[in-house]
Amino acid sequence: MKQAEFFSSRWGLILAALGMAVGTGNIWRFPRIVAQNGGGSFLIPWVIFLFLWSIPLLIIEFTIGRETRYGTVGAFGKFLGKKFTWMGAFVGFCTMAIMFYYSVVMGWCLKYLVAALSGNTGLFESQAFWESFTTSYQPVGFHMLAMTLGSFVIYKGVVAGIERANKILIPLLFSLLLLAAVRALTLPGAMSGLNYLFEPNLAALLNYRTWLEALSQSAWSTGAGWGLILTYAVYMKKEEGVVLNSFIAGLGNNTASLLAAMVILPTIFAILPYDEAMRAMASGNTGLTFIWIPKLFEQMPLGSFFMIVFFLALASAALSSLIAMLELATRIFMDAGLERHRAILFVATFGFLFGLPSALSLQFFNNQDWVWGLGLIISGMFFTFAAIKYGVDKMRTTLINVEGNDLAAGRWFNRIVTFLIPLEFVVLIVWWSWQAVTAYDPEGWWNPFRTFSLGTCIFQWLLAIVILVVLNNKMFEKTIRGS
């Protein structure tokens, strides 16, 4: 297949990769998880796992995408052989399933941005505002708006759409976070929040939970193993190196996370007493963002302005990640023979329709977030399997350390991919399954129709895998043979 579209420059690719990696999780999950897991002690394993999980997986994704020039389905078929096409389809399906409800999340961000911009004082009655919003039909309209915005970018193509959008969104996002961090750090009492963020605590560092939460955060936050970087790598030039780009994406993602934590924690600790601050942190992603944040900004000088800054940053982060997910889905259908404009119309239509249940029911939304968020760990393992089956050392020497690569991958890459990532995978899957059985739903953990059960994960994963295995040969023929 002749690849016709490319990013116009390396900076276009780097900004798109940053846009993919930095999402709502950096802003609404990371600060919460740091605060609940020992502050500074959490940061040590979190940085370690950036190098022992996220960056090696990003390198694998970049390499397979650049080498095969196919989206996830075709990439696995071409790289590993026909019978492994279903694995790429699972990776693609898992990210698409996330895309369906992620568009709903972006819709929520847009709603709060509009409310903040219009000076809607109802926002300050945050619990009532959130409940009246989520129990109405408004999330459907905002979900449609989010899907339309993202699809318009993809419709315009790689350079005029993805590259141009990220050239605006990423500098805007970092500038807004920086501005908000300056405001937060100059609040009276903000230093106690900063101290909490960085204060190491030996007991927390020795607690296995801290390490598991750090690994989970690293696995979900950088977008490694989602197939998104693989998709963007389809449009990178052959002579561009993959190792340096992976380090930039991973470190840039963690830079944004730290900035977000330096906004949220100092603000919370400056305004709320310690116990209430911890209660806010324990209120979940949506509770913290849509209920506590408006309350905090209400009590802050220039709060209305900084609420706009915060929700604009959140919406920018959501849009840049949604664009990457839409492109992943569009690329798969383009590989199957559709031209870009038709493919995105198709993806946007079914993306909107399949996102509707999450827009209308928070319970359905939570179930999908639980099932496919955990499914991403399986996707990450499929990428590792691909590297191991191909030969990690062969991949490193013949596909990664080639002419034009500006940072060589040493033998450390072989050891991490062959031993550490599979071990991390087993630990993560066992840990989250154990959590489901003992903490989330001890009564009905086996029940496939409960929101947070282990049964619902296994049921939905198996259903997807069985269908994709049945369709394996057809997908291969359509994607590889048809191109």
């Binding site: 940061l43 940085v47 900063l194 960085f198 204060e199 190491p200 340096l244 930039i248 830079t255 940072l407």
Partner: protein, 37 residues
């Protein structure tokens, strides 16, 4: 802020922010050289 928190802040920001800026700089230098050729 306590001394240990300050040390931790310097180390973590040094690795993450320092690493991000350093890798961006390497990419910038490489691209400039490539464009000059």
């Amino acid at each position: 802020m306590s001394t240990s928190a300050i040390i931790m802040m310097v180390v973590i920001l040094g690795i993450v922010w320092g690493g991000f800026v350093a890798t961006l700089r390497i990419a910038f230098v490489k691209e400039s050289r490539k464009n000059r050729k």
